[in-house]
């Protein structure tokens, strides 16, 4: 299948319905139904559901660019999480509800739980669905929320991969916005992008954005039940990139970047949230370190190629 047949319409859909204004409205507590319905009607929510269960039967690698697009546009609803949830539920023979599903994997704030109708916990092969009872985090314009009384620890690897893919999409967009800004913004008589110090920073940003994308792809390569090592590499790399990408982008943008009316913050706040969700870089480093030391006789190259 030519993936552009899937990606292009999905990109157009998101650009149509998920404008910065629509994001701001939902972040301010406006209704989510109309945006959600657009995704429901698109049919993409069942992209990962097996064909014999009525879905499109895409692999996670196939769907990775779609998830990255959701990150790229800071879509403020758990579209990717719902895609994962619906695939797991279908595989387990559980009928999925129509509303947005968030995935809860720990005690911290759950991405998009504040705008979800249901929560997925349990394990990939034994998913548990509950109605969303979420408590706001109090963080400004946050759609994440706390969920009590569920255990989704076994879903952490797949959730981490989703977060890595979302980060990679957002990081790519932040890179483009920041390069464009550096070329436009004139200071001391020339675009700031002509300053060598700014160029060096933007190179670092680009390196991290590309690293995040590769990391996300590593996470996606084994499907809905990723190898623990792949999930670890993915989320570690993406989380590491998220912090640096956000920091450099804001440093280059200066004051305008932290004003609410400028769109950069719609993406960087997500980068930070996703960086922390489902285990930060150090969490996954610890997991991978344990795997590595459990196999200490191997060379690092063998460990990595076999991972």
């Amino acid at each position: 299948m030519d993936m552009s047949e899937l990606i292009d319409p999905f990109a157009r859909l998101i650009e149509d319905v998920c404008t910065p204004a629509a994001i701001r409205a939902i972040e301010q507590g406006d209704e989510t139904a109309s945006l959600w319905n657009a995704f429901v009607e698109s049919g993409f929510l069942d992209a990962l559901v097996a064909e014999d269960a009525g879905g499109a039967g895409l692999s996670l690698s196939d769907a990775a660019p779609l998830i990255a697009l959701l990150g790229r546009h800071a879509v403020p609803l758990p579209v990717a999480d719902t895609m994962i949830a619906r695939a797991l539920l279908a595989a387990a023979g559980i009928t999925a509800p129509e509303g947005p599903i968030a995935i809860a994997t720990g005690t911290g704030a759950v991405p998009f739980a504040g705008v979800a109708s249901h929560i997925l916990s349990g394990a990939p092969e034994a998913p548990v669905l509950t109605e969303a009872v979420a408590e706001a985090t109090g963080v400004h314009h946050d759609t994440d929320a706390y969920v009590a009384g569920v255990d989704g620890k076994a879903l952490r690897p797949i959730a981490a991969v989703v977060r890595a893919l979302l980060i990679s999409g957002a990081a790519g967009r932040v890179m483009e916005m920041t390069v464009a800004y550096a070329n436009e913004r004139v200071q001391f008589g020339k675009p700031i992008g002509k300053q060598q110090a700014v160029q060096q920073q933007l190179s670092l940003l680009a390196e991290q954005a590309v690293a995040a994308r590769i990391a996300g792809a590593i996470g996606a390569r084994a499907g809905l039940q990723p190898a623990l090592a792949d999930a670890a590499i993915a989320k570690h790399g993406a989380s590491l990139a998220a912090g640096q990408v956000a920091a450099i982008a804001h440093a280059v943008h200066g004051a305008i970047g932290i004003s609410e009316e400028y769109d950069l913050q719609l993406l960087t706040r997500r980068l930070h949230g996703w960086r922390l969700a489902d285990g930060s870089e150090s969490y996954w480093a610890g997991i991978l370190g344990e795997l590595r030391l459990g196999d200490a006789a191997k060379s690092s190259a063998q460990f990595i190629c076999g991972a």
């Binding site: 109090g138 963080v139 001391f188 200066g254 932290i258 609410e260 913050q265 969490y283």
Partner: protein, 384 residues
């Protein structure tokens, strides 16, 4: 190089003011949730600022004849350290106390001093600083706001400022504006004017930031008439005055403590959950060690001020290192907390973490971007 930056000790009489000051601060912040205290020098509480003024903690470096306390930078260091490390709301007096007061003392006429300084010391005259304009950023010499001197010696001001901290709470702005020449003249022809923000023709529009706060504002001047004595210092010398002011701005201990409320809340969390693994201990210790070094560097810079020097390069060096640290703190604490995803975290700590994470980019905007500061350091090293 930089040999003059050496370990200094605060005089005993300055250390002695801590207990009473601390009591005053504790009273003021007792009911403030952690995420409010984390706002610290963006926290606005006019009543608290006046209380500090009444208790003699403002105008510390101003002479007594102008209502000041006649003490020096060391005393101010102690006061700032106590205020910021506790997360007290200082925005109500901050700029007036730190920058405008010393500026008026240095460049103002006797009348200006007698008019403004006592009120600054009482926490009753709130100032903001009008430097940036749309499109100017760090390139301050490109300002286009313009004040034309009138026949009566007064000024007619037109133009716009942006990113003005606390304009909506302030009584006065000290504005850098063009009074002669054109913007091609760059640093030439700029002057500083004290603008009464209640004057007709002034519109203040707050700028909401990504945390939902509004510390910045746009300020529009439309045929604003100012008296002749609005000029502070000499006509055309505004650039030189601003550079001196910025050097002062970069010298204080405020470059260490922006993330300290978060850090303390995190330490209490670690204590509460009893987490003491090696990664945790190392992170705690690393942050403490860096903060300790920065604190001594800041004190060393203060000692140069006490010695009557203008430690521009040293202050820039300390500030660049300090803001890097302050910006790293929320990233590292976030990583730490999210490295323990099965550990319960107090929502107030998480909220504080995210607030500091989101606002941290502003730390390196205050008083010059990183590139500007490093340029100053490079010049100090003899590289330009």
């Amino acid at each position: 190089m930089f040999e003059t930056l050496t370990l200094s000790t605060l005089p005993a009489e300055d250390e002695a003011i801590r207990p009473a000051l601390r009591a005053l601060i504790q009273e003021a912040i007792a009911d403030l949730p952690v995420h409010r205290r984390a706002r610290s020098w963006q926290g606005f509480d006019a009543a608290f600022s006046r209380k500090l003024g009444q208790a003699g903690y403002l105008g510390l470096s101003l002479p007594k004849e102008y209502g000041g306390m006649g003490r020096g930078p060391f005393t101010r260091f102690v006061v700032v350290e106590e205020l910021l490390s506790a997360g007290a709301p200082v925005a109500g007096h901050w700029i007036a106390d730190r920058q405008s007061g010393p500026l008026i003392l240095r460049y103002g006429t006797e009348e200006q001093r007698r008019f403004y300084l006592p009120r600054i010391s009482r926490g009753e005259a709130l100032f903001c600083i009008g430097m940036s304009e749309p499109g100017s950023g760090s390139d301050l010499a490109s300002v286009r706001s313009r004040a034309e001197q009138q026949a009566d010696g007064g000024w007619l001001l037109n133009g716009q400022k942006i990113w003005t901290t606390n304009a909506m709470h302030s009584d006065y702005m000290i504005a850098l504006v063009r009074t002669s020449g054109t913007s091609d003249d760059r640093q030439q022809g700029l002057s500083q004017l004290i603008v009464d923000l209640k004057a007709p023709g002034i519109t203040i529009r707050p700028i909401v930031d990504l945390t939902g706060d509004a510390h910045f504002a746009e300020v529009f001047f439309e045929d604003v008439r100012l008296a002749p004595d609005a000029l502070i210092g000499a006509e055309g010398q505004g650039w030189k005055q601003v550079v001196a002011e910025l050097a002062f701005e970069r010298s204080g201990p405020e470059r260490i403590y922006s993330s300290v409320v978060l850090m303390d809340a995190w330490v209490r969390h670690l204590d509460a959950v009893g987490r003491k693994d090696s990664a945790t201990l190392r992170l705690v210790g690393s942050l403490m060690a860096q903060q300790a070094v920065l604190r001594e560097m800041s004190l060393a810079v203060t000692a140069r001020l006490v010695a009557g020097e203008s430690p521009v390069v040293e202050a820039s060096l300390m500030k660049d290192l300090g803001t890097s640290f302050e910006q790293a703190v929320p990233q590292l604490i976030g990583d730490d907390l999210a490295a323990n995803p099965d550990e319960p975290v107090d929502p107030e700590l998480y909220r504080t973490l995210l607030y500091v994470t989101h606002i941290a980019p502003s730390f390196s905007l205050r008083g010059g971007t990183r590139e500007i500061l490093r340029g100053i350091i490079a010049r100090g090293l003899g590289l330009r």
